[in-house]
């Protein structure tokens, strides 16, 4: 028989454990991406001289494969004296990769704020930090939350790349099960099903969030 339900149920607990690692990597990676992305986008505004180097850096990160960046962090950082384990290396690489994408999302959010908001804040004698924190951020971030959500889903779907540096996440566990039992059908199909369900659920969630944000009165 091609599909064996008994075997599928037998490996389910193992895969469930690995799913926890996948989700941990997703959450930590996105945390780095969301924060570092905001820092990069803010820095461009705060210090105009950094705008060009940052956009080159973003272009560099977005133009090269995540897999190579994961290898780079995992293999090259130790040569520079920074020894980290595979999980941390993977999370850092994914976080930096998506920080580049997120910084562009934040930038679009900032660009949508009318100049008048800055000028009005100056007229009210607010410091530029207060303006940024209390006037610009509350207006710039909510509209881009759905776009950030899409990157969260994209990041989640890229976590199987961590299997390339032997992090015991879903894909790696499925491969190990496959190589030990010579049955690849159930583990890999189950992993696919897991990603499909999670993606559909989060797509629905993002859609609901988007409708919720659109319903708010325009300012």
């Amino acid at each position: 028989m091609i599909w064996d339900w008994a075997f599928a149920f037998e490996i389910l607990p193992l895969l469930a454990q690995a799913a926890v690692v996948t989700i941990e990597a997703t959450v930590l990676g996105f945390l780095i991406a969301a924060i570092l992305g905001l820092v990069l986008a803010s820095l461009r505004i705060a210090v105009p001289a950094t705008a060009w180097p940052i956009s080159v850096l973003v272009e560099l990160i977005r133009s090269t494969p995540l897999l190579i960046q994961i290898f780079f962090v995992y293999f090259v950082f130790p040569k520079w004296g920074l020894v980290i384990d595979a999980f941390a290396a993977g999370v850092i690489a994914i976080g930096i990769h998506y920080a580049a994408y997120c910084s562009e999302v934040y930038r679009a959010g900032f660009d949508n704020i009318a100049r008048g908001q800055w000028e009005a804040s100056i007229a009210l004698n607010l410091s530029s930090w207060t303006t940024f924190r209390d006037i610009i951020i509350p207006q710039a971030i909510p509209p881009v939350v759905p776009a950030l959500g899409n990157y969260l889903v994209a990041l989640f779907k890229e976590t199987p790349l961590l299997s390339a540096i032997a992090v015991l996440e879903l894909m790696q566990t499925a491969k190990i099960i496959g190589s030990q039992t010579f049955r690849y059908t159930e583990p890999i199909t189950l992993v696919g099903a897991f990603f499909l369900v999670m993606s559909l659920v989060s797509a629905a969630g993002i859609g609901a969030l988007e409708r919720h944000l659109n319903r708010r009165p325009t300012r």
Binding site: S55, S63, P65, L66, L67, I68, L161, S163, F195, A203
Partner: protein, 242 residues
């Protein structure tokens, strides 16, 4: 970023590769890596062709197809957008043989990447077709064109222009995703980097060169798509009066 800056970055990347090639530490790896890069480009080009074909086909099937076809196209798009590219690649590589279908790895790579990006592409095509103004359909009907004729001669040429930038992004995604094929034993650029790294432990030069090579490939693709975008926009401004 403008086409000028991108060209500047490409020149800088190529110059850096050239400079590094002068040092013996780096130059020993370059021929092997370039051989890997050829395979990367082959897979990327074939994958892009398949992606465009699948994207157009799935979009048209979803918009104008009969119900079973529409259902099939929607399932395809949801499955390939909902799971990871790597899962799809492994599924075609490890699981399909258990159903009695054993494909060569090269074909698996092109199929997996093309189908994956094609699913995203179908949304691009759909969006671009829906973005063409309704009046264009009405005018075509007034000129006694059939729906197929209107689609082929009026709607698609205009939608094509709107499709170029998002397809450019998808092609870049596909090019980057070719690095995954190293995990199904294909000797692409990433695979060469891995094997060279394991045999020589010269990690820093190898991965620096690989990053620069991928960067150069991406930039060539981006610049090409930008150029196409400009050319197509010219034609539209002249032809449609929009």
């Amino acid at each position: 970023m403008g086409i000028r800056t991108l060209t500047l970055m490409l020149v800088a990347a190529l110059a850096t590769i050239g400079l590094l090639a002068l040092s013996p530490d780096f130059s020993v790896f370059l021929p092997q890596l370039l051989r890997g890069a050829v395979l990367t480009v082959e897979i990327a080009v074939l994958g892009c062709l398949l992606a465009v074909a699948m994207g157009v086909f799935a979009a048209l099937a979803r918009m104008y197809g009969l119900r079973p076809l529409r259902w099939l196209a929607t399932t395809y798009v949801e499955i390939f957008r909902g799971t990871s590219a790597l899962v799809q690649l492994f599924w075609l590589f490890f699981v399909l043989p258990q159903f009695g279908v054993t494909l060569p790895p090269f074909l698996v790579a092109v199929l997996a990447l093309g189908l994956n990006v094609g699913a995203y592409g179908s949304e691009v095509v759909r969006g671009a077709i829906l973005g063409v103004h309704r009046g264009q359909w009405e005018a075509a009907t007034a000129l006694n064109m059939t729906r197929v004729e209107a689609l082929r001669r009026i709607i698609l040429p205009q939608a094509f222009v709107a499709m170029i930038p998002p397809w450019g992004n998808l092609f870049i995604e596909l090019l980057k995703a070719t690095s995954l094929v190293s995990l199904i034993t294909l000797a692409d650029l990433t695979f060469k980097a891995q094997t060279l790294n394991q045999s020589t432990f010269k990690t820093v030069p190898i991965f620096t060169l690989v990053l620069l090579l991928y960067l150069a490939l991406s930039l060539v693709l981006t610049i090409g798509m930008r150029w196409l975008e400009n050319r197509a926009a010219l034609g539209l401004a002249r032809g449609s009066g929009r």
